[in-house]
């Protein structure tokens, strides 16, 4: 399949000055690679082949370099599987390695949180006994996980999330390190008096006032959306607390709180495996979908402002992207399984008319 006339050329390494293991100058290796790309990895014409023969004869070292580089053409070629399955396996492996890297980062993050606690005092020892935070849980990208805590609380971890919990003290404490959680607070029936339920983030803490709510960490703050009852927010470096009521969303930042705009998307619909909403900018929807998949979704500026409404599944983001491509004037191109470019619909067929 790969044969060219060059492949049949057997350069004779009969020059006694060049042992077969000799190191060669870089420029000769690079020249041999350039020839190999022309002859072994492209359809070469007669002219190229002739010029190659001249190069080959010009210097005995050229022949040695060629023999070595040309021999690489067949590395792995006895593999009976097609490249697609190998690439897919490699990408799965990349993904796993990426996950274990994230796990290591989370550990580092936790350590730096501890440092922060000492440094700024926002996590006073009396407030948050982080050294007693024993249980921890996390999810990878695209995963969700439901945890039942001993006090009856249900915690749902969204994609790429890490938490620590401590239910052993006077307060019930969740430390959100990364990602997003939904909390349905439990009755704490094993304790004579119901203990306060607190969620800590690096931007401040919040106290549940008997309730169901979501907390999502972003780089600029924590986004709290309340589904039932209310949650009190306490910024880390301000006394301006605020009570968020049902169906409200609000940013918690170090220095205060402010109302949040969810860009048409419903908070907490991820619990049901979907992004739901009305009149969502396509660019915002794609950015949201990207949280649930490894790799990259790029969005062309021409289609960024398209508006979409409805339910978009997050369990199989490839299917959701295909669905969008069917219903919107957009097209998808997969660079690899992990890298999708979303652009305007292909108008080639129109051009032909």
């Amino acid at each position: 399949m790969h044969s060219t006339s060059a492949a049949n050329t057997q350069p004779q390494n009969d020059n006694p000055d060049i042992p077969s293991s000799a190191a060669l100058p870089d420029d000769i290796i690079d020249a041999a690679i350039t020839w190999s790309i022309k002859l072994d990895y492209n359809e070469a014409n007669e002219d190229i082949k002739r010029r190659f023969e001249d190069w080959l004869r010009a210097n005995p070292m050229h022949a040695v370099a060629w023999e070595r580089i040309h021999s690489l053409r067949h590395s792995f070629s006895d593999t009976s599987a097609p490249s697609a399955i190998v690439i897919s396996a490699m990408e799965h492996a990349d993904q796993q390695r990426h996950q274990s890297l994230l796990k290591r980062r989370k550990t580092i993050q936790l350590l730096s949180l501890a440092t922060l606690a000492i440094g700024t005092g926002w996590l006073m020892r009396a407030q948050l006994p982080w050294q007693r935070l024993t249980a921890d849980a996390s999810t990878g990208i695209g995963e969700q996980r439901t945890l039942q805590l001993a006090d009856g609380t249900e915690l749902i971890l969204n994609t790429d999330t890490a938490i620590r919990t401590d239910l052993s003290g006077e307060n019930r404490i969740i430390l959100l390190l990364r990602g997003e959680i939904m909390v349905k607070t439990g009755t704490d029936m094993h304790h004579a008096e119901k203990r306060p339920f607190l969620v800590y983030t690096s931007f401040g803490k919040m106290q549940a006032l008997g309730t169901r709510f979501t907390v999502r960490l972003a780089t600029e703050g924590a986004l709290i959306s309340v589904q039932e009852h209310a949650v009190a927010l306490y910024p880390a470096q301000s006394k301006a607390s605020y009570v968020v009521k049902a169906n409200e969303s609000r940013w918690l930042r170090e220095s205060g709180t402010e109302p949040a705009n969810l860009q048409g998307m419903d908070a907490g619909s991820w619990v049901h495996g979907v992004i739901s909403g009305n009149n969502i900018r396509l660019a915002d929807l794609l950015a949201e979908l990207a949280r649930y998949r490894m790799g990259h979704i790029s969005c062309a500026p021409e289609i960024a402002d398209l508006r979409v409404s409805g339910l978009f599944h997050i369990k199989d983001t490839d299917k959701t992207l295909q669905f969008l491509a069917h219903t919107q004037p957009i097209s998808l191109s997969y660079r690899t399984r992990l890298w999708v470019s979303v652009g305007p619909a292909n108008t080639d067929s129109d051009a032909l008319l």
Binding site: M1, H2, S21, A23, I29, D30, I33, T34, S36, I37, Y41, N42, E43, R68, I69, L72, R73, H74, S75, F76, S77, T79, S80, A81, P82, S83, I85, V86, I87, S88, A89, M90, E91, H92, A93, D94, Q95, Q96, R97, S100, S333, R335, T336, L338, S341
Partner: protein, 170 residues
């Protein structure tokens, strides 16, 4: 057995007696598995014998754990790849998947490919695999992955230079 071999054997034997238990514990903590730790500790000492160089380590435990660390990393890489391979097979359309009898052999090839191409960027690696495994030419690859011909040629050149260095520049 020649004289230097004999000395090496005595040296390794002494290391084995003094540090085998410690090394096994060290590896077990890394792997969380006593069974694999036993095998791996044996492999570390085997490696020392095969090197045919005097050990002469001033800090034998640091020395042993450095070698063992290499084995542990290799072990995890292999496990990750095995898992990735199973995931891929599970999600692959049945008629196109390799037959069960060749899957294990294929895993070994995969490990070899991973070891060889690990240092390359995913795009470079993917383009090179398409060339090597499917026998595609640069223009065909360019069309499939949606980049320019010059880019694909640069990817292939990078991969070839890398493979050359591994094979011919030890």
């Amino acid at each position: 057995m020649s004289k230097p071999d004999l000395t090496l054997h005595q040296e390794v034997h002494a290391l084995y007696i003094d540090h085998y238990g410690w090394l096994q514990g060290w590896i077990r903590r890394k792997l969380g598995n006593a069974f694999d730790a036993n095998d791996m500790a044996q492999d570390v000492f085997m490696r020392l014998l095969l090197r045919k160089q005097p050990v002469q380590a001033h800090q034998p435990r640091a020395f042993l754990s450095t070698i063992a660390h290499g084995f542990v990393v290799e072990h995890w890489r292999r496990r990750e790849l095995e898992l990735a391979w199973q995931e891929t097979l599970a999600s692959w359309p049945a008629p196109e998947a390799p037959p069960p009898e060749s899957r294990l052999i294929f895993l070994e090839t995969l490990i070899e490919i991973d070891r060889t191409l690990d240092a390359l960027k995913p795009m470079v690696r993917n383009a090179f695999l398409m060339a090597q495994l499917d026998g595609l030419t640069c223009p065909q690859i360019a069309e499939q992955i949606g980049v320019s011909l010059a880019t694909v040629e640069r990817y292939i050149a990078k991969a070839l230079r890398h493979c050359y260095a591994l094979r011919f520049e030890p």
